[in-house]
């Protein structure tokens, strides 16, 4: 079986039919060697460590977890004890953590082979800059275009078959937006569902979230990363059909921003498909995103500054130009601004929660733009327009997932976002899986 044949199997298929852990690891490493010089999905590829780990698993024998022998990667702001963790910054260029992040330790216990560390915007809050440690990842569907960040390396690696699954971090859409942009599935779980311990992020908004090529793989990664798999609690796939599910739309949210017309059409097609599957469409009002995006910007910048102030003062030249500005701007907020934003969060979360009295999920486009270049226009980036659909749910804390929903005329992937009730991630995954399995989008891959 060639590396290309293996590369796009689901985790379940790879574990069942892919052969030994060494075969899977070798296949992925060979694909990385061939494709990553042009994609820049990885900051670090740990070929020797991964091969040794796979060999050990094969020698030990017997499946001991849902990810047994499966090559995975982590965004490089998540600590790994056996390989450097740089956050794509010269500040941490040679930092070797002494312990794994909690999610890494859980994934290893589930049998995962850590193949390497994925590229990101420096510290997850900056734009690609010429002085970055590793150049920005390219979109495998069109390598002329960059991939939307900040977990861009993880989404690129999964989409291009350079690993079977990944964990990224999401503070305003950083798992869901690159997943949509690369044609894969990305989940921001309920706030706090996965431990943030050992990962860079801002405590109020950030969550670690899985990225994979299908919803069931995301389910397996969640079970492994949370430690549920180790406790023998592996959630089952749901049955067929949406039954009497009520699907909420937020037309006021969509009106606040000019969505690319091709994304708009794919979104409406997806809504029709959900309806065809038995979903009942409910239009909701009372939720707008501009103030929510504003609150996210205030909290994100205040907390990011608090994390980095001392380090930036000590060695400013080791931060990239973009990161220096992004991570410093929070210094200019007043303490009251932060308090207002936290108060807004509380009210907003209660308001979003109340929507779930009348619906079972919310559906929006994931991203308003098709390319990273559009999303990174200075005025767009400053206004937070690129994460207008995603960041409100970092504020509310609800689980939210991006699932492939089609392609543009230029063959750029499009995703829709499905949002679930707080702490009911499994139902969200079930709804998303019904949609996914009724459409062909997740079966298409770049660089096959």
């Amino acid at each position: 079986m060639s590396s290309g044949d293996l590369a796009f199997r689901s985790i379940t298929e790879a574990a069942r039919e892919g052969g030994s852990a060494v075969q899977l690891t070798t296949a992925v490493l060979s694909r990385i060697e061939e494709l990553d010089p042009g994609l820049h999905a990885y900051v670090t590829v740990a070929a020797e460590i991964a091969t040794q780990r796979a060999t050990d698993l094969d020698v030990r024998g017997g499946r001991r977890g849902p990810l047994w022998g499966i090559p995975v990667g982590f965004k490089d702001n998540i600590a790994t004890a056996d390989m450097r963790t740089t956050a794509n910054s010269h500040v941490l260029e040679t930092w070797q953590p002494t312990t794994d992040a909690a999610v890494v330790a859980n994934m290893r216990r589930a049998g995962a082979v850590v193949i390497g560390k994925h590229n990101l915007n420096e510290f997850g809050w900056s734009l690609p800059s010429p002085d970055d440690l590793t150049p920005a990842p390219r979109n495998p569907w069109n390598t002329e275009s960059a991939a939307i960040g900040s977990s861009s390396g993880s989404a690129v690696a999964v989409a291009a078959g350079l690993c079977f699954g990944a964990l990224g971090t999401d503070s305003g859409g950083s798992v869901r937006l690159p997943a949509a942009n690369c044609g894969v599935v990305g989940l921001k779980p309920s706030h706090g569902a996965l431990p943030l311990e050992g990962a860079f992020g801002v405590p109020t908004l950030s969550d670690i979230g899985p990225i994979a090529r299908c919803v069931n793989d995301v389910r397996l990664l969640m079970a492994a990363a949370s430690g549920a798999a180790e406790r023998g609690s592996l959630p089952a796939q749901g049955g067929e059909g949406l039954g009497s599910i009520r699907v909420g739309l937020l037309p006021a949210l969509a009106r606040t921003i000019e969505v690319d017309p091709e994304i708009g059409r794919a979104y409406l097609d997806a809504v029709r498909e959900l309806e065809r599957l038995g979903g009942r469409i409910v239009e909701l009002s009372g939720i707008e995103s501009e103030a929510a995006t504003a609150a996210v910007r205030v909290i994100l910048n205040a907390e990011a500054y608090a994390e980095h102030a001392s380090s930036i003062r000590r060695h400013p030249d080791r931060y990239g130009a973009s990161a220096r500005v992004h991570l410093t701007q929070g210094a200019f907020l007043g303490a009251a601004d932060y308090i207002y934003a936290l108060r807004f969060l509380k009210r907003y979360a209660a308001k979003v929660d109340s929507l779930f009295d009348s619906v079972d999920c919310l559906v929006t486009p994931t991203a308003p733009y098709l390319t990273a270049e559009e999303a990174r226009r200075p005025e767009t980036h400053r206004a937070g327009l690129g994460d207008m659909f995603t960041s409100p749910f970092n504020l509310s804390g609800n689980p939210a997932l991006s699932v492939p929903a089609g392609f543009s005329s230029a063959k750029m992937p499009i995703g829709i976002q499905i949002v679930g009730r707080m702490q009911d991630d499994q139902r969200l995954l079930w709804i998303a899986e019904q949609y996914e399995q009724s459409t062909p989008w997740h079966t298409q891959h770049p660089l096959g």
Binding site: A309, P316, A331, D337, Y340
Partner: protein
């Protein structure tokens, strides 16, 4: 209240950034002061949107908030 025009606002923010950077001991180059001024202008606009929600500090009083 005197309305601050955009150019004047930008100039004031630049002064604020330059002075605050000095107080906070951030060594900033000239081009960074410009970039930071633009970023802070955008961020303060977000913060002002939340100030405009009319909330006054009303600790531990959801009842009072609901009457506003």
């Amino acid at each position: 209240m005197t309305e601050v025009m955009p150019d004047e606002r930008r100039r004031l923010i630049k002064e604020y950034v330059r002075a605050s950077a000095g107080v906070l001991s951030f060594p900033l180059k000239d081009d960074e002061i410009h970039a930071l001024t633009v970023a802070v202008d955008g961020l303060l606009a977000h913060a002002e949107r939340l100030r405009d929600t009319g909330d006054l500090p009303m600790p531990n009083s959801t009842e009072v908030e609901s009457h506003r």
